[in-house]
Amino acid sequence: MLLAPYLQGGKGLFISYSTLDGSSVEMRAIAIGLFQHCIGPIAVDVRLNYWTRDFCLSFGLYEEFIDELDMIRAIRACKTAAEERAVVRKECASIRASISENDQDYMHRNLAKLMFIHMLGYPTHFGQMECLKLIASPGFPEKRIGYLGLMLLLDERQEVLMLVTNSIKQDLNHTNQYIVGLALCALGNICSAEMARDLAPEVERLLQFRDPNIRKKVSSLKTAALCTIRIIKKVPDLAENFINSAAALLKEKHHGVLITGAQLCTDMCKVSTEAHEHFRKKCIDGVVKLLRDLANSPYAPEYDISGITDPLLHIRLLRLLHVLGQGDVDASDTMNDVATKTETNKNAGNAILYECVATIMNIEDNGGLRVLAVNILGRFLSSRDNNIRYVALNMLMKAISLDSQAVQRHRATILECVKDPDASIRKRALELVYLLVNESNAKPLTKELVDYLEVSDPEFKGDLTAKICSIVEKFSPEKLWYIDQMVKVLSEAGNYVKDEVWHALIVVITNAPNLHGYTVRALYKAVQKSSEQETLVRVAVWCIGEYGEMLVGNAGMLDVEDPITVTEAEAVDLVETAIKRHYSDLTTQAMCLIALLKLSSRYPSCAKYVGIGSLHIIPGRINDIVLHQKGSLVLELQQRAIEFNSIIEKHGKIRSALVERMPVLDEATYSGRRAGPVPAVVSTSLGTQPKMSNGVAKPTSAPLVDLLDLSSDDVQAPSSSGGDFLHDLLGVDLSPASTGTNNKAPKNGTDALLDLLSVGAPTAQSSSSMLDMLSSEQDNKRSEGLLDNFASLSTSSAHSSSAVSSSSMMDLLDGFGTSSSVPVAETSGPSYPSVVAFESGSLKVTFNFSKEPGNPQTTTIEAQFVNKSPDIYSNFVFQAAVPKFLQLHLEPASGSTLPASGNGSIMQKLKVSNSQHGKKSLVMRVRINYKANGKDVLEDGQISNFPHGL
């Protein structure tokens, strides 16, 4: 305080020894504050006592200090990022200028500034050369800061690093051990694989270096050991060269050398089996002895941490035994010693015990020690220290595979940990609980977890929900329990549930016919309480659509259930709320529309007319809601609304059959599909499945799966699977010519679709047959199913089969206005002969041509590749190039493997638009890559034999 006047005077300031060395923290802080305050603009005369000298040293050197300070101050004063960038740019410019002037005196200072700039995140690559220069200079101070800069500014991935190899090599051979130390340190921290290879001999020499006057060389010995770890990690082949010198390290006395030696041996065992064998034979006794001595050693102040001599060395040695000591009796004995003798009231002791347990788990086969280990973990688990509990949970995960009974005993404690306020502990505990679940304890554990779900943090709910769902699916003893648990989870954390989970739930529900009524009522109740859970609403809406009459009629009552009274209007209310909520997404709204359509047949009272007014018909509630969606901005919803409205109003006869219940979804197929290679596709297809495929014709389940394919695959994609699928779905024999052509040749497509629509009837139907059909008497089940398929087809891809659908669907779409109908194209334009576009000794490429009517410029080419050789071609890639007046679009090929001997082919579609149509004909250059017999083959050629007029 007395110093203040001096400071104000702006004169020199003497800070006395006694002030700065004052023992109170406050005094020092004040002193430092004063120091900071006056050091900048005012020339300070600081009497350098020992404290201030240290102080200045700790901030680098004094003269650098003031200069840096100016820069820092300037940067600190910046108010905006732009200002800061400007200051940094200016500084960088001055540093660059100083570098180009080759000013030796400022090198230190420049580098210190650069490090600061680097830390702020600005590019500092121009300083890298500066580091190299400093490293190459002879003095220790320059080298020291040069290496520091090297480690901070560069990493192993920069090529500049190679330039420093030579300097490092020289420094490794330096007589000054501290310079050797610097070089080793840099090598250990950032060396790349190339450097490791180049400099390994030098490091090896240093590692072998033995000197009677060992104390002096200790520091380079241990640095060299750690450097070797990096080298063998980068280049594992080099490990064998180091085996002997690494083993020799374990015979030293110095703790630093032992620590690094043990670490080096452990890492060598990981990369080289030869080293592992060698150490196992030669070193294990030595390590056991070292460990025993260490455990029994008297108090050693230099290495003591909370009463234990060098716990860090302890841990390193234990870790080496972990790798080496499999089945070794001596090792097990020592383990027993260490485990029983170690003090456990401090972190250091616990760290040793923890490592000890890990080692026991790995090396011990007999039960006794393992019981000891699990008991230690049990003790850890009941500790009040969160760190200890965390590591206990962590280690129990490993123990569970060895001795799950012993871990099960701690189940209650672990379950408590799931509810811990600490996120890290919760996560560990949850993983562990997941592993602990089996058939016998699934019910109580799930109950605990579900109960906890209510009160858990929002950010934990995602993990927790996923785990609960997984447990419930895996271990559910009966369907009732499964459904109960899932409804609970959905109503607590429905927004965190993944799509697969609720899809699976629906599959299970359809498979439990005696629980339909129960489920729909349970879901109804759940939605009343927690309507904000999106997935819950979806499942509920789906079930109400399917089993609406059971909701109202209290059908299929179970004993455990309380009866509820729900009127039809209330059920419709629920769906209405769901569709009108602003946060409902498209899927939910679309599902609501389907449900309404279904309810229109289940609840006739809500369906069509309320009564006939004086002038016009008053629509029923359901129809009213559906009509409301006609104005939706989302095309999908609008289209559905229009179609459904039309079905409700005009096709009463077929409606009830049309919206029959979904057939039972096959669980085995579903779970098989989920486990299959394309889960993503499955999940999306399932997402659309309930709304797309109501009332599928065939009662078996296999085609359903195919149906899913359709709704996920864009029908526009040229795939014969589309045709196959229809084929499967309908179980009718479509002629091969008409399958797989639904968008390639419109005429065929029309035929095929018409065929679909009039199974059993003669194919010669005009496109208006649809209309007839809808009102015709032949509303047997099958044809309605077809109709529905057709409808679903058109919703997903109305544009692809537009010519057909728009006219034949006119009836369904009439709410939309009929003016948009387009006449069916009568002809498909001229046809072109196929050509063999390319043929080599082993490969034949055939082109088939087609044109879309009304667009003569564009030709669709279907290329067929056939392999005539006896070898299978893999990685088959076809590439094509065209001149500028053409435009080429390649669609994905049907496969990349071409079977041998013409036993199959790859198909690929190309679309070519000719901007000079009629003037110039097509021309194309192709290149084909594939792998035959393990060799890459490349073929190319030019195709100019295209038919004229393309």
Partner: protein, 166 residues
């Protein structure tokens, strides 16, 4: 293996970074941002470990400074806490009281070279090098005196030159 060491102040300012595994400049900034978001928001008394991108980050707060080290899944977390403490004690001996550590680092916001030198004596290639505080202190002191000696030599030479050219 320790993948990196971070020192972050309670306000989220970075005081020291050391990377033993390669991270690009961009990744480094991202890592620091992610971790300071996770660690600084944790309540006191919780455990000192956070799980992050398949690694574990062990952190400990000393005064207003967080020491963080990132390790592999199966490394010994408790041991890393000891290493952090070891580092802090050595810093403490070198710079003075731990309470002022942040002040020391903060003083003019430079990554202090001395702290890096000390770290280099403790960790290399992400592995522990020396468990004796005394040895580390001695090594640093010797190297500092080497620098001092070189400076003195330089200044005496320049004095001589100055006197000779007077």
């Amino acid at each position: 293996m320790i993948h990196f060491v971070l020192l972050i102040s309670r306000q989220g300012k970075v005081r020291l970074t050391k990377w033993y595994s390669p991270y690009s400049q961009k990744e480094r900034t991202k890592v620091i941002r992610e971790l300071s978001g996770m660690i600084l928001t944790r309540a006191p008394k919780l455990c000192n470990f956070v799980e992050w991108r398949g690694y574990k980050v062990v952190y400990k707060r000393y005064a207003s400074l967080y020491f963080c080290m990132c390790i592999d899944q199966d490394d010994n977390e408790l041991e890393v806490l000891e290493i952090i403490h070891h580092f802090v004690e050595i810093l403490d001996r070198y710079f003075g009281s731990v309470c002022e550590l942040d002040l020391i680092f903060n003083f003019h916001k430079l990554p202090r070279a001395q702290a890096y030198y000390i770290l280099d004596e403790i960790l290399i290639a992400g592995e522990l090098q020396e468990s004796s505080k005394k040895t580390v202190a001695r090594l640093i002191a010797t190297q500092d005196s080497l620098v001092e000696a070189a400076k003195e030599q330089a200044s005496s030479i320049s004095n001589m030159i100055a006197q000779a050219t007077k």
